[in-house]
Amino acid sequence: MTEFKKPRMSRASRKAVIARLARYYARYKFSVLAALILMIGSNLFALLGPYLTGKAIDAIDLQSGVDFAAVTRYCVWMAIFYVVSSIFSYVLSVLMIRLSQKIVRSMRQDVFDKILSLPVGALDRLQAGDLINRISYDIDTVNASLSNDILQAATGIITIVGTLVGMALTSLPLLGVFIVTVPISVFIAIKRSKAVRPLFRKRSQKLAELNGFSEEMLSGLKTIRAYGREKEILDKFRKKNEEAANAYYDADYLGSLIGPSVNFVNNLGTVLISTGGVFFYLFNLISIGDISAFLLYARKFSGPVNEYANILGEIQSALAAAERVFRLLDGESEKADDPDAVVLEETEGKLRFENVSFSYDGETPVIENLSFTANPGQVVAIVGPTGAGKTTLVNLMMRFYDVTDGKIELDGTDIRRYTRKSLRAAFTMVLQDTWLFEDTIFENIAYGKENATAEEVERAAEGAHIAEYIRSLPDGYKTAITDGGVNLSKGQKQLMTIARAMLSPAKMLILDEATSNVDTRTEILIRDAMNNLMRGRTSFVIAHRLTTVRNADLILVVKDGNIVERGKHEELLEKGGFYAEIYSAQFQ
């Protein structure tokens, strides 16, 4: 559908896309060359068939009786050529599949690595569905087209030229008769690409609309029922359904012309060739074998002409898909580390913001002139309404983004002097969206530290108060976390990620406290686990809990992207500002 909305690609960008695709193929020069040879060979052998058929039939149709030796010879040759041609074409298709799969593989890996290397903010702006579309559907389209369509197009050209040559060699006068059908074939091909294709595009668009509508409405079924709006929604559905069905019909109406028309052209060819052929035969211009060969050539001829429009359309959408993939690949990755960046080996965990300013777009400042110091083992609470820019601070500390002005120092050194990887390794984090992937519980916790031992993992689980639960599972740590598998509650997932973070020896902690939708008991467990986690680490907490805020060594109050207040709990309450306002609001 997106394709539908977009204007056609410009000639220049199409050229660029083709050039880039060609580069992928250039790595496999040898395979491409072999494919080319096989393709030409296979088609030429196939084209010899009708010629031999004609010869064989002529050998039968002799006044002097059948020339068995000649018939046998021609038939054996025919069999050989056809078999060889088939073998060639199979080897060719295997070769093309392997070739295109190699290219698919490297394209996919490129896209995936790109996703991992994009700046976090850039990735946030993309949708998961969009990425998945590009890595699966788009890449598939490109390759199906490259391995199939190009092959078909080339085969088509060879076939068209070859059959024309074959027909001309067999009988020029008959070719004169047959040529009448060519404009009709071309007419059908044009009709198909001009009139039918847009209708088919409209058909899929309308169908997508209908499906989108039903999915949306069914997701709100409960609400529709609660408000008793079934009739109104059904009326809307009817309308969309009718539109979709009519679009389908419109495409079918014209489309149903194509198949029979192609057959008609074939049949017309048969009619013209047999009538004309027999006439010429009467005047001894042609032999019966020639008619037969000519008929076979004619049948071969119309196939590719008809396919041509289809192939062109497919190649076009493949190029559009390739462009989408390349556009993603061209997205700017995270900047490379400074050439003289050093690996951060060990840290005390003293982090200092010095006159830091930052803006995502270079215009609207998100943070202006911020300075504060977090000493080893301290707790810094970041508070403020949702969407106020609390995560920006985290983004800067972990260098998901770099400051626009000022600097951030770790143990007195600008963090830009360290390699990103080693800097990030100095942090461990627990985020609100508990992220678990589909693997065992063990793997999910062990993810926090390279080569973590079973003992370490168990200790971390213990500290996160989840060990007891894990042991109660029949498969223990080997239990798989899947959609269909064990059903972890939100609270348990949270504890699991705390365990993962606990495993890390990092000196600094970033904690995004969840707005908990959990029962009281779990809530207490989580709080306690988080306290365990903060022990001995410099912690930056996006805080939602009173205790955290009360006990914090420093509270940063964020509002509309700015730090509006800072200090300890009591100081801020006394001040009677924004913090005091939101704090007291809850006891109204």
């Binding site: 059948v66 069999a79 048969t270």
Partner: protein
């Protein structure tokens, strides 16, 4: 499947006529090679140019008849397919809207969505194709073979020999193909999962410096996809060359055997040429038949899935009640128990509310709070006990039951439509009503700051924050000035200040409305006349905040956890 096919019965006449045209067109095509052979063998030796022209014209007529017959039949088929599918889809959607919550739980929503989309699409395709190819392919296959027998049985046997070979190839390869493609699909699924996983977890991955590890993991999955796809492609790719080889070998055999038959005077040369034409026709028919099988098995499975929904019995029919009891309470739960498939969700719940009173419901996740609402709205029927509104059993109400309610569910539904449409929700409400509701719900200000009431929401309201979405939903619930307002955890994303203001506005402006407020935070339900404390589906406390603080241990515990340390206060 029967249910779905019964939809076709009203088009019997049209289908029969279409199929007749199709048969005529197909036969006309089949005759062509015969005429040609006759021209070569019998007309040509007579040197009669007129007869030759006439036979040529006859062929042309046949070709045109084939064209007209097929096109007309195809179009009629498309119309039948369109009309059938439209009706089927409308009925299916209407049926889904009328399913009970229990039935939906059983089938599941995603499954209903796919039945409505891909299954109806498959059926549409099947109905069209059945009419277009279902008669054509068999006629071409059987008719083609039969006609060749009339020409020469021996040559026909040679030709006939290739048919089972072709069939075996098609069946064998597509059977293996299905297994291979299923495997391929599974590995593609795991690839998609990986991309989705890493997309959501990118911060953790980067923070833990796991990009290389993830890249390596993906490489393995990628390899597997590629291996599966290569295998499937290589297997399926064998069909075309193999079929071509068999066909052409058969043709060589016909010519070879034909030579002997001609020499024996049994056939003429023209016949051999006709045979080569029939070869092509029969090959195409075999390919068509295999396509029909695939299509039919797909469509048939889909038709079954659709039929299963259409055949579901109507659930939750209003039960007439003899007499309406006099009751001073407006809403009454009378020893209500309920279980989902045997797992008890609510046990022996009783309470009553007078008109204009408010009820707060509190308890941990999964304690049965939302079930309470589902029963009140009669999404499910109670197992035991009775729920009455205005003295009348909810089971005795028809559609007028929901007219009494304004409801906001947990993570409720917003459409990709304008703000106004989302609040109005297909009801006949004036702009004033909508705007007043938005004002009460503290939504008016941000709506105007955004794009006004005509401003569009993206799917699921993603262009509004959580708190804003909840206020839009509350506005929807208020807009029709309902007798009963149910808010299920629908202010959790609001900061405390807005939440408190909202409650104040509701109490001030809707004194007549009976409010049921479900929440996790005590501060949200504290205001209510009565608070119901649920724990594991049982009522462990019922009374005002004050009373509960005195008498209810669970309530006190929740209070303590929220006010002395464990409070989740989103605003800050």
């Amino acid at each position: 499947m029967k249910t779905v096919f019964s939809y076709l019965s009203s088009y019997k006449a049209r289908m029969a006529f279409g199929l007749f045209l199709k048969a005529v067109g197909t036969f006309a095509e089949l005759v062509l090679p015969l005429i040609m052979a006759y021209m070569i063998d019998d007309v040509a030796p007579t040197q009669n140019a007129l007869a030759l022209s006439l036979w040529g014209a006859a062929m042309l007529v046949c070709a045109v008849a084939a064209l007209v017959g097929n096109v007309t039949a195809n179009r009629m088929a498309s119309r039948v397919a369109r009309d059938t599918t439209t009706r089927l889809r409308n009925d299916l959607f209407a049926k889904i809207l009328s399913l009970s919550a229990r039935q939906i739980d059983e089938v599941t929503l995603p499954s209903l969505v796919s039945r409505l989309s891909s299954d109806t699409y498959n059926v549409h395709n099947m109905i069209g194709m059945m009419q277009r190819l279902g008669i054509r392919a068999p006629i071409l296959l059987v008719g083609g073979v039969a006609l060749t027998f009339t020409v020469d049985p021996v040559l026909a046997l040679v030709l006939l020999f290739t048919v089972p070979v072709l069939t075996i190839i098609v069946v064998f390869v597509s059977k293996r193909g299905i297994g291979l493609y299923t495997r391929l699909q599974r590995s593609v699924d795991s690839m998609v999962r990986k991309v989705r996983d890493d997309y959501t977890g990118i911060r953790v991955i980067k923070a833990l410096s796991k990009t290389e590890y993830e890249s390596e993991t993906f490489r393995k999955i990628n390899e597997e996809v590629v291996a599966n796809e290569t295998k499937a492609g290589v297997t399926m790719g064998v069909t075309n060359p193999l079929m071509n080889a068999v066909l052409n070998l058969g043709m060589a055999a016909v010519i070879f055997v034909g030579a002997y038959r001609v020499s024996a005077g049994r056939v003429k040369v023209g016949d051999i040429i006709a045979f080569t034409s029939y070869f092509t026709i029969i090959l195409n028919a075999v390919i068509s038949v295999s396509r029909i099988f695939v299509n039919f098995s797909k469509g048939g499975a889909s038709a079954k899935r659709i039929g299963a929904i259409l055949e579901l019995p109507r659930d939750l029919i209003p039960v007439p009640e003899e007499k309406k009891a006099e009751d001073d309470a407006f809403i009454r739960f009378d020893h209500v128990s309920f279980s989902y498939n045997g797992a008890p969700a609510l046990t022996d719940i009783s309470f009553s509310l007078k008109k204009g009173e408010s009820l707060g419901v509190i308890g941990a996740t999964g304690c049965g709070k939302s079930t309470l609402v589902a029963l009140l709205l009669r999404f499910y029927d109670v197992d035991k006990g009775k729920i009455t509104i205005d003295g009348k059993d909810v089971r005795a109400y028809g559609a007028e039951l929901c007219e009494k309610f304004g409801v906001v569910f947990q993570s409720d539904f917003l459409m990709a439509a304008s703000v106004k449409e989302n609040i109005g929700f297909e009801r006949e409400l004036t702009d004033e009503q909508i705007e007043r509701a938005a004002e009460y719900a503290k939504a008016d200000k941000f709506i105007r700051a955004h794009e006004g009431y005509e401003g569009m929401l993206t799917a699921r309201g993603a262009n509004f924050s959580g708190g804003q979405k909840q206020r839009l939903l509350i506005a929807r619930a208020l807009a029709s000035s309902p007798e009963i307002l149910v808010l299920d955890d629908s202010s959790s994303a609001l900061d405390y200040k807005t939440d408190a203001q909202l409650r104040k506005t509701l109490l001030q402006n809707l004194p007549e409305t009976t409010i049921i407020m479900i929440a996790q935070r005590i501060s949200s339900v504290k205001f209510a006349d009565k608070i119901l404390v649920l724990d594991g589906g049982k009522a462990v406390g019922l009374g005002s905040d004050e009373e509960l603080m005195r008498t209810c241990e669970v309530y006190r515990r929740i209070y303590a956890s929220q006010h002395e340390g464990g409070e989740a206060y989103d605003g800050i």
